[in-house]
């Protein structure tokens, strides 16, 4: 019997995935376990293996398609199994039914076109409880994208659909009321003075007019991270506060740890400044819990997170990724150093799992290995602060009697001004600088 090839859920909160490429073509022989296709979630790109051996048939997903989890995107037939062309069996076909009166979203339309291309619909995957709920609420279960395994409609999907329908109806009523109301010219002007984030577009330019050009595709990571950085940049009122920390003693200690780490007989590793920065940051974050928070939806509350997962920006050949060290407050510097080494290596190989890139409560971006005197890091939303550090340098510091050569580390803290005030940011940086100057404070 033919085996479905489905768009899998690779991440707990994933509902759709972007299909990016096939490694095999229609009619090719495939082996179970061999890489068959690639998808992108909003966090990562993943290669997916063939679920069975046989011949690839009924390929319906095309690069760029955004599909719900569980969509059937092809079939694997046994080599001798008859294949009736486009009339392949289909198990998850519900989306070809007409969209509800409110009009289909663009995503639904895309999905429908894919389902139609695959073959005629037959049946809907849904749990008994979801069916009972749909019957009860008068909802057409065939119009629902299931979030369960293989696109199965779960009761939660039916409840969500009912809520959406209710909201759409409410909106239509509100819009209907607005349409018939004439707007006076003076009123329109008064309404406009508030402004908004409707940014004017940057006009397109034909660069070839001015000289030879070459097109270089953005890397996968850049294509994913770009819109997220943009969203953070335009939605969050960023302020960057700068300070510096005396790390003369800390760096001496770090060198000592690093020498021991390199000499480790079983599994040598390295100790950079980062694990120490993480440790100091956790100490300061515990003192200033609003920096470990996220803004609640609606912006009227802060969600204080009682865990300390530190994101670390890692530079890879493909672009910037943030690896997350979980429960950094429970780990010592050596454990942090080892874990960071392992995560960075995975990041550079493009092997980070979605779970290793999410759940951060605070992020550190270090350019210390390269250089610079200061920069304005973009907050890794939905966090409310990010610490940027650049290269430390020896500078003369007045100790009350004389100038002493001290190793100074510039700190650049970008914060969300909706959640954090300037004075709090200044105090946060002072506390962090004092902790770095004397790590014994992390024991307090």
């Amino acid at each position: 019997m033919a085996v479905e090839v489905i768009l899998p859920r690779v991440d707990m909160d994933m509902t759709t995935g972007k299909f990016t490429r096939w490694f095999k073509n229609e009619g090719d022989a495939v082996d179970r376990g061999a890489t068959l296709f690639e998808i992108e979630t909003d966090k990562a790109a993943m290669e997916i293996d063939a679920p069975a051996s046989g011949v690839l048939r009924g390929v319906s997903a095309k690069p760029g398609d955004e599909l719900p989890v569980g969509s059937v995107i092809a079939w694997i037939y046994a080599p001798d199994e008859p294949y009736a062309g486009a009339a392949a069996p289909v198990a998850r076909p519900s989306l070809a039914t007409p969209a509800p009166a409110g009009g289909a979203t663009s995503e639904q339309r895309r999905v429908e076109s894919v389902a139609e291309a695959a073959s005629p619909p037959r049946g809907v995957r849904a749990t008994p409880q979801a069916r009972a709920k749909a019957r009860e609420s008068g909802i057409d279960i065939a119009a629902i994208n299931g979030s369960g395994p293989r696109g199965r409609v779960q009761v939660g999907d039916v409840v969500a659909r009912a809520t959406t329908i209710a909201a759409e109806q409410g909106e239509r009523i509100a819009q209907g009321a607005g349409e018939s109301r004439p707007v006076a010219i003076g009123e329109a002007k008064a309404a406009f003075t508030g402004g908004g984030a409707a940014a004017p577009e940057i006009p397109a330019v034909d660069f070839a007019k001015f000289g030879p050009v070459e097109i270089m595709a953005l890397s996968r990571i850049k294509r994913i991270s770009g819109p997220r950085l943009h969203a953070a940049w335009v939605n969050i009122p960023h302020v960057t506060h700068c300070d510096e920390a005396d790390i003369t003693d800390l760096d001496a200690f770090r060198k000592q740890l690093d020498d021991e780490a390199k000499a480790d007989k079983k599994a040598p590793y390295r100790v950079s400044l980062l694990p120490l920065l993480m440790k100091a940051s956790v100490t300061t974050l515990k003192e200033f819990p609003t920096f470990n928070a996220a803004l609640a939806q609606g912006g009227d509350a802060l969600i204080l997170r009682r865990y300390w997962n530190i994101g670390v920006a890692v530079d890879t050949a493909e672009g910037l990724v943030v690896a997350v060290v979980k429960d950094a407050d429970e780990k010592g510097v050596i454990e942090l150093a080892r874990e960071l080494g392992a995560l960075s290596a995975k990041a550079r190989e493009g092997k980070l799992l979605p779970s290793e890139m999410q759940g951060a409560t605070f992020t550190i971006s270090s350019l210390g290995g390269i250089g610079g005197t200061a920069f304005t890091p973009i907050i890794n939303a939905p966090e409310v602060a990010i610490l940027g550090v650049v290269r430390s340098k020896t500078a003369p510091v007045w100790d009350g009697a004389a100038f002493r050569p001290r190793l100074m580390l510039p700190l650049c803290l970008s914060y969300d001004h909706r959640a954090i005030d300037g004075a709090a940011a200044a105090r946060f940086c002072r506390h962090l600088a004092q902790t770095l100057a004397d790590m014994r404070r992390a024991l307090l």
Binding site: T127, P128, Q129, A130, R131, A132, G148, P149, Q154, V155
Partner: protein, 332 residues
Amino acid sequence: MVAPARILSFAEAIREAMAIAMDADEHVFLMGEDIGVYGGAFQVTGDLVHRYGEERVMDTPISELGGAGVAVGAALNGMRPIYEFQFSDFAMLATEQIVNQAAKLRFMLGGAVSVPVVFRMPSGSGTGAAAQHSQSLQAWFAHIPGLKVIEPTTPREAKGMLLAAIADPDPVMIFEHKLLYKTKGPVPEGYYTVPLNKAAVVRPGADLTIVASGLMTVRTLEAAATLEQSGVDAEVIDLRSLRPLDIGAICESVKKTSRLMCVYEGVKTMGIGAEISSAVAESEAFDFLEAPIIRLGGADAPIPYSPILEKASAPQVADIVEAARKLATGAV
């Protein structure tokens, strides 16, 4: 006031039940291979031959068909025999007496007689006794109208259910997992019974329902404790009786949790779990299901002698944890 319970082993609790029944009713007597001076293959009858004599604790020849036939005949004539199969696997030699006579005679004779016999069935794998001495054949006998098939889990239930079985007017087969004989627990003094038709919710939970019996209930409870640590709250139902099956209790639980898993040591195919899952699918609980019903049964293979393979052929705690976690987290 109820006397405080003592701690007894499962085997001691069964022995105590038989002694209490023999003290109370002179019609009660025991039959079986090596149950006298030797004390039984699993030392369940123990010293009873010395306390009640060879007429009431009767060693039988190595003929299960003959022994069971005598027991059924004695029951027809007003006695209350308890026949011990040395290994429940040997009950196959006596199926004519159990299935065709004991289970049928009340019906064949228009209710004029009853057959109050108890068959004790030491069962299950895990003792290195290989394919012919390790089976879990509950489903075979649960298929027969006219029989009652029970499987206690704790020493307290073993005593109370055996006393209820002895008092019951119809044939009862009591499955005793061999690995439970040495397990211990509180057992009340004196005479009491535990009903033969009621399942028990032994651990309330919200995320999924796991149905098991006997040793599998013990393993499931252990698995539930592990699952709790990772945030999965399992409701555990101990069947206690396989015929009649308390489907009502299971359905009530499924309506609450929406997810059902059956754990049983008998071979998965055509097993207890098949009956439970189809009974639930036919019931009003169907509309409450949010995932397929999962059966975690014994391997479709004769129990191997190799200890590693023997272990792999029956559900272990880790298997239950894994399957339950998948079911509860929506991975199936």
